[in-house]
């Protein structure tokens, strides 16, 4: 993929932020002087905290790094009350090492790893114990999604990006069904990506590219994919718009962005519906405390429309125990039970009685799925929009 970017530096006085992007590889102080001048101007213009945003700075040579260190040292003398907050992303492999070193050296400097701070539940979501949950979910949803994807514009031999690809199984299924010209999966979980790589290797697939990346700052070129997907992902971020903007950026004009998300509060099971409903509403609240919106599904239509997408299409995948293999459906709910009453409840310090009640609700949902006279649902919302222009 070609995605070399020229260097740019922007100062937003309103945000008190200098954003540096691309490749900064000066030959010496003279070469760095225009950058230094912008940094000095920013430091003179603000009070309190100056943010230095390095999230999209892909390359920095040591000369540039030394010049930045000199700027920080000079700031400590010229503006003793000014704090510098260096915002870095672990997606750029050298950044936490170098800026962490600077953070330890200078008292006026704080280093924030952006993608760790982006949403508080990240550590919970990226854990490899989620792999069985994701795998079962994909199995169950794919049988419905396979045809539905065509209605949302996916065709053969397209260039496809699957952002927040998780364990990569959707990319493998799309690869087999739609024979894309090129497909890349991006995720921020190394355990998921390792799993994805292992699966691809076992299936003898060598031409799916997987990248470690941050969905809000992708290292993928603009206007380069005909079909961009992000499935069951926007709901776990506290700022879904910033991801959607990035999906729109990498999508070609005329191409489509395809999203799926849930409305967890509408998961239903009868009989014992009160217990089931309480559990899902409670799960939504717990997730909310970690910055996730598990009821995000129906909001996608507005979000796509507001962002300027055309021909916005939306529908529902109505998974029920009448149209889905009962054992698979039950296994999905059982994996949720394990995840919500385990990892998620621990992370949010739920009292034992709440955990027990949550557990009962999941079990009652499974009961409804398996019962001869029961009815159970798991609605997933699907939306897509066309990027304007040709």
């Amino acid at each position: 993929m070609e995605n070399e970017q020229p260097f740019s530096i922007r100062f937003s006085e309103n945000d008190q932020e200098v954003a540096l992007e691309g490749a900064l590889r000066p030959a010496g102080a003279e070469d760095f002087a225009p950058v230094r001048s912008r940094l000095d101007h920013a430091a003179d213009a603000v009070r309190g905290v100056l943010y230095l945003n390095f999230k999209r700075l892909r390359y920095l040579n040591h000369t540039g790094f030394a010049e930045l260190a000199r700027f920080i040292a000079a700031c400590a003398e010229r503006h003793p009350s000014l704090k510098l907050k260096l915002v870095v992303s672990s997606v750029v492999p050298w950044a936490p090492l170098r800026f962490g070193f600077l953070g330890a050296k200078f008292g006026n400097t704080i280093v924030e790893q952006y993608d760790k701070a982006f949403y508080p539940g990240q550590g919970v979501i990226e854990n490899d114990r989620l792999v069985p949950v994701l795998r079962t979910q994909t199995n169950i949803v794919w049988s419905h999604e396979r045809e539905l994807l065509r209605r949302h514009g996916l065709g053969k031999r397209m260039r496809i990006a699957d952002i927040c690809c998780g364990i990569g199984d959707f990319a493998v299924l799309v690869y087999k069904e739609f024979e894309p010209e090129y497909i890349v999966g991006v995720d921020h979980s190394r355990p998921f990506l390792q799993y994805a790589q292992q699966i691809a290797r076992e299936f003898g697939i060598t031409d799916i590219e997987y990248q470690f990346g941050d969905a809000t700052h992708l290292f993928l070129p603009s206007n380069s994919f005909e079909f961009v997907t992000s499935r069951l992902a926007l709901q776990i971020f506290n700022d879904p718009s910033s991801i959607l903007r990035e999906l729109m950026r990498i999508c070609r004009p005329g191409g489509r962005v395809y999203l799926t998300n849930e409305m967890t509060a509408h998961n239903y099971g009868y009989p014992r519906h009160e217990s089931v409903t309480w559990t899902y509403q409670q799960a939504v609240k717990i997730a909310q405390s970690l910055g996730m919106d598990m009821n995000f599904g129906p909001k996608m239509f507005s979000l796509l429309t507001d962002m300027g997408f055309e021909d916005v299409r939306m529908e529902q995948i109505p998974i029920t125990n009448n149209n889905t293999a009962i054992d698979d459906f039950a296994r999905v709910i059982e994996s949720w039970e394990e995840y919500v009453t385990g990892e998620l409840s621990t992370a949010t310090q739920q009292p034992p009685e709440v955990v027990e009640r949550l557990r009962m609700g999941f079990r009652d949902h499974v009961y409804a799925i398996r019962s001869r006279r029961g009815f159970a649902t798991w609605p997933i919302y699907v939306a897509s929009g066309r990027k304007p222009g040709r």
Binding site: D31, R58, Y59, N61, H62, E67, P93, Y210, Q211
Partner: protein, 168 residues
């Protein structure tokens, strides 16, 4: 008395690419260092898991070595870049033409980047670097902060800088 057979020597790196660049060609522009580093990195990483991450790392390290060579100004001749891969590492060897003075400089600079004390040395160099960054500190940083291996092998009128980069 029976003698044990010698253990087999570990297999060398599988070659990936060899590039020959004229010294004069490199000096045409400072930006040649990064263009070359980016090209080599992208080529080497293209068939690997997460090529973007590996490209970023390789390009960062190769660029630093190429910038060092650019500043060291070897005499006329060719710079040869050979890149290979083992199970664990990508290994890049940059062969540069040397005269007596340059050979001594390489010995001095590369001699200062032994991994055992690289971190302590980098910490010590950091203060002086704020006053005037010496060119070779970039090499020291590769070893001290990034865990990259750097070594010098001397030939007849040449110095070979060996850069060893772990895959992960």
């Amino acid at each position: 008395m029976t003698s044990e057979p010698a253990p087999p020597s570990p297999p060398g790196p599988s070659p990936i690419l060899t590039l020959r660049i004229s010294v004069r060609g490199l000096y045409d522009s400072w930006t040649h260092c990064q263009r070359l580093a980016d090209y080599i990195a992208r080529f080497v990483a293209s068939d690997r898991f997460d090529p973007e991450q590996l490209t970023t790392r390789l390009s960062t390290y190769l660029n630093e070595v190429l910038e060092y060579v650019f500043r060291a100004r070897p005499s006329e001749g060719e710079i040869v870049v050979e890149v290979g891969r083992t199970d664990e590492h990508v290994i890049a060897e940059l062969t540069i033409p040397t005269d007596v003075a340059l050979a001594q400089r390489l010995r001095d600079d590369l001699g200062r980047v032994a991994p055992a004390d690289a971190r302590a040395r980098y910490e010590a160099e950091f203060e002086s670097m704020l006053l005037r960054p010496p060119a070779e500190v970039g090499l020291l940083e590769l070893v001290a902060l990034h865990g990259v291996g750097l070594a010098l092998r001397e030939g007849d009128g040449t110095g070979v800088i060996v850069l060893t980069v772990p895959h992960e």
